[in-house]
Amino acid sequence: MNILDEELCKIVASALNVETATISIETSSEDCLEWDSLGHMSILSALDEKFVGITLECPELGGATSVKEIADFCNTWKPAN
């Protein structure tokens, strides 16, 4: 699956409830106050809603700490069917 960086940044920003402009592919959890443990849960919930099955098949997403890392997992994930 290929996810555009821009689309992923929008998902992350919306999940964290911050301005889209503040999130880039380079953003890490350390750069964003809202990206704490709760924020990460929120990102995963949003990903799960957008890409059904991804959270079941990529447990490594639980420990991802940057948008780039999430993008890499998303781009190697192959949805069933």
Partner: protein
């Protein structure tokens, strides 16, 4: 087995999180918890307060199970001290049960298996997690409350456990822990919310779905689903996954915060069990990581 009464105690200090975090609306979107409760006392103070509420209804308590991860003493067992504070008779078996958010469901299962022998059993869940939190860790400080519940059980035969399913996954210990030494996370509680949430989606949701399927296959009418009230994200996330049953979920996380093993007894107090022939599902999950599910109701 019958639940006779449920006592409740919360930390005496009510902390309005809007006073602590200026971005409260963003936080509430995730937690759904506007206030948390903290005590200056200890776990036994809360446990005593909750248990005292149900003791007037107790006739012959022979077993006390204290579910806690906030021990006041390493020894003796804290249940022994609690029994003394409550003036329970000496012919009592009392022990501590070291489990977190799944602790109530697990101790309830134990109690169901022992109730014939012990006639009345008192389960007390009590934790003071706020003492374990690093002050700058917003994710935990905005969620956990200190609290205790006391559940008095008797051997009345009208309700039974129809189904139980337990999971113990110690390989995920690092996702939610407090070390006995200060070498890890300076001795404070650590929670990796993302990993815990994925465990919930991957393991707990299918476990609850299996319990629902069991009920349907066996003609058991589900009246209530009581799940651990971790936070809005977790509770609503699970509800969304089991959308056909959304209306059966009982919810009160915004009233008390996450009180660890006390959340399900608090739900049972606010939304009493159906006694007209239906069954209820209890689902506790968290620290361990562990997860336990029971179906409880009319024979």
């Amino acid at each position: 087995m019958e639940i006779i009464a449920i006592g409740k105690a919360l930390g005496e200090k009510k902390i309005d999180l809007a006073d602590v975090y200026p971005d409260i609306d963003r936080l509430l979107d995730k937690t759904g918890i506007p206030c948390v409760f903290e005590t200056d006392g200890d776990m036994l103070d809360l446990a005593e307060q909750a248990a005292s509420q149900v003791l007037p209804l107790a006739r012959d308590v022979k077993l006390l199970i204290l579910v806690t991860q906030s021990p006041v003493d390493y020894l003796p067992a804290n249940a022994v001290s609690l029994a003394s504070r409550l003036n329970l008779p000496k012919n009592l078996l009392a022990f501590d049960f070291n489990q977190g958010c799944s602790g109530f469901v697990q101790s309830f299962c134990l109690a169901a298996n022992l109730i014939e022998k012990y006639s009345q059993i008192l389960i007390v869940t009590a934790d003071t997690y706020r003492q374990k939190l690093q002050k700058n860790d917003r994710s935990t400080n905005a969620v956990f409350s200190d609290g205790s519940a006391a559940v008095l059980l008797s051997a009345e035969n009208s309700q039974v456990i129809h189904y139980e399913d337990h999971m113990t996954a110690g390989q995920h210990r690092d996702f939610l822990f407090q070390s006995a030494t200060d070498t890890e996370n300076s001795g404070y509680l650590h929670m990796s919310g993302g990993d815990v949430w994925l465990f919930t989606l991957r393991e707990v949701v299918p476990q609850i779905a299996k319990a629902i399927a069991f009920c349907e296959e066996n003609g058991l009418l589900i009246k209530n689903i009581y799940i651990h009230q971790a936070s809005k994200l977790v509770v609503e996330g699970i509800r969304k996954k089991l959308e056909h049953y959304q209306d059966l979920f009982r919810v009160n996380y915004s009233e008390n915060g996450n009180t660890v093993s006390s959340t399900i007894p608090f739900l049972l107090r606010d939304f009493p069990l159906d006694t007209q022939g239906g069954v209820s599902i209890f689902a506790g999950f968290g620290v361990g990581l562990t997860s336990s599910i029971v179906v409880f109701g009319a024979k």
